[in-house]
């Protein structure tokens, strides 16, 4: 075999490996969807009452007369995620701007490493922080009987989502060619003008992706929310109220169910709901991004 043959084989093999890698993402996502749907389908087509599912707060799957009202769980997830985003979006975009545009040399390197380390903290540790530090702190500061709730879970989730959002947003800002900055500077723009009129518009796709990744993180996070939210079925009326999230419900109840039973099926229905919402968020983002690009 001469060298050209070898190169040809290497090239072909690499091509196939990369193709397989790319296609596997599709295979996995479709596979997960099929699995979840299959497990939940019997329940969805059988005992599920859609009206009850979306409007009732009575989630009593183990009662003699079981009811499957998921409204409180949906509101629980939404309120915690919303609160977390309120906190973490400005925080992480600000941090990303500082690291990418202002920090130099050592400061920049140290900050980057610290932020990435923050992203590596396991969620159960965050949950522990929520339970053992935030919980008494919130009780003392706000003089409330319970520190586990929307505020606690939202803070914890916000802190968890911030490092990832910061990292992605910083990458997006860094991906804007310096030539754009120099060109704008040469036109007499100040640094703020450069950032707000050139850098941010040029990187808005990446920034949007960062925010959505954060939303996805908040939506899908289980352990920390389970530990910090109080895990009580409840429609919150204040930030100190306990709530229960969709994910936490699945995690805490799945172990106690009969495989293939109604309760089992109902939990998978929650899974389908999570999946669909995530899908819609990503799709919306994609359409928005495309819309921006076309212009």
């Amino acid at each position: 075999m001469d060298r050209r043959d070898l190169a040809w084989y290497v090239d072909k093999t690499a091509q196939w490996v990369i193709f397989a890698g790319g296609i596997s993402a599709i295979v996995f996502i479709v596979g997960i969807f099929i699995f979840i749907t299959k497990e939940g389908l019997d329940f969805v087509l059988g005992p599920l009452n859609l009206g009850e599912f979306f409007t009732s707060i009575a989630w009593r799957p183990t009662s003699n007369n079981p009811t499957y009202g998921a409204l409180a769980l949906i509101v629980g997830t939404a309120s915690v995620t919303g609160f977390a985003m309120l906190l973490s979006v400005p925080l992480s975009l600000g941090a990303a701007l500082f690291i990418a545009e202002f920090a130099t040399g050592k400061t920049r390197e140290v900050l980057k490493v610290l932020v990435e380390m923050l992203a590596a903290i396991p969620s159960v540790v965050w949950g522990f922080v929520g339970m053992s530090i935030m919980h008494p702190l919130i009780m003392r500061i706000f003089d409330v009987p319970l520190g586990l709730g929307v505020l606690n879970a939202g803070l914890i989730l916000g802190l968890m989502a911030a490092p990832i959002m910061t990292t992605i947003a910083e990458d997006a800002l860094k991906a804007v060619p310096d030539a754009y900055r120099e060109a704008a500077e040469a036109l007499g723009a100040t640094r703020w003008e450069v950032i707000f009129k050139v850098v941010i518009p040029a990187s808005r796709n990446g920034l949007l992706a960062a925010v959505l990744l954060g939303v996805g993180r908040g939506f899908g996070e289980t352990m920390a929310v389970l530990m910090a939210s109080g895990h009580a079925i409840n429609i919150p009326t204040s930030p100190f109220d306990s709530v229960r999230a969709l994910t936490a419900t699945i995690a805490s109840e799945l172990g106690d169910t009969v495989r293939g039973g109604d309760h089992w099926g109902s939990l998978f229905t929650l899974g389908i709901l999570l999946f669909v919402v995530t899908f819609v968020i990503n799709l919306t983002a994609d359409i928005v991004v495309r819309g921006i690009r076309k212009k």
Binding site: T104, G105, P177, A179, Y180, R181, E182, A183, A184, E185, A186, L187, G188, A189, T190, E193, K197, V198, P201, A202, K295
Partner: protein, 271 residues
């Protein structure tokens, strides 16, 4: 005879009636280095109003560094140190307290076209807007005038809303020139503008530059010796940080040089 480095006044016979009055740029003992590594040494020369001043020389000879020092881009380049002085209109560039005001009076065209990721219209309206011009009619007028002067208006007038970065390389470079003109600069700096531009567009841009000469002063850094010959009134030859020779372009190409290296470079023996 040609003007040598350090000579205070260039020979007047080389200049037409356009070069009256004091120089627009006075460079004295200029040294530029990056982290201690010198890029330009002991440069002293003048550039006159309404001339096209060519700077030729091989890579790493300090041409671009000189341009960067002119509009004080060094402030944002880490490790870039500038010694000596540059006066523009008699005022030391380091005395400008508002750096952005200085930059806004100097138009810069970079080697690779940079269409900002904004619409064609917004690209040209960027600088006027920074100056506080908000009126639609006024902006429309500026955009049309600058694009016309940059020989681009006819090609883009129907798609002013499309992204500037989607234009072809040659169009983007003319967009960059239109953008520079929208600053209403006294001074236009061009840094190897034709690297990414086809020959036909290059000629069109060169024609534009010749027309602009009556309105402003142009410093043209180029690695194309023939381009300097076509455009520049005077040409400086930079070599590894040394200003080897400055003289009327015509003289240089007639081999009326002081330094043999100049002829060597012009004839393509090195560089």
């Amino acid at each position: 005879m040609v003007d040598g480095v350090g000579q205070e006044q260039p020979r007047s016979a080389n200049f037409g009636p356009l070069y009256e009055g004091p120089p627009i740029i006075e460079v004295r003992d200029l040294g530029i280095s990056y982290g201690g590594k010198p890029a330009l040494r002991d440069a002293s020369f003048d550039i006159y109003r309404h001339e096209i001043f060519g700077i030729i020389g091989p890579a790493n000879s300090g041409k671009t560094s000189f341009l960067r020092a002119l509009n004080r881009m060094d402030d944002f380049t880490t490790g870039m140190e500038v010694r000596g002085s540059i006066h523009i209109n008699g005022k030391d560039v380091n005395d400008w307290r508002n750096l952005y005001a200085l930059r806004s009076r100097i138009g810069v065209v970079f080697p690779l076209p940079v269409g900002l990721p904004l619409s064609v219209y917004d690209n040209v309206a960027f600088s006027p807007r920074l100056r506080g011009i908000r009126g639609k009619a006024e902006l429309d007028e500026v955009v049309e005038r600058c694009l016309t002067r940059a020989a681009l208006w006819d090609e883009v007038k129907d798609r002013l809303d499309s992204l500037g970065s989607l234009l072809s390389g040659g169009q983007q470079q003319r967009l960059t020139i239109a953008r520079a003109l929208s600053q209403e600069p006294e001074l236009l700096l061009l840094d190897e503008f034709s690297i990414a531009v086809d020959p036909v567009t290059t000629m069109r841009i060169e024609d534009v530059l010749k027309d602009l000469r009556s309105e402003l002063t142009i410093v043209l850094v180029t690695n194309l010796v023939q381009q300097a010959r076509r455009l520049a009134d005077r040409t400086a030859f930079f070599l590894t940080g040394e200003v080897v020779e400055i003289g009327a372009t015509e003289d240089l190409f007639k081999r009326k040089v002081q330094d043999e290296r100049t002829t060597g470079y012009l004839e393509g023996r090195f560089g």
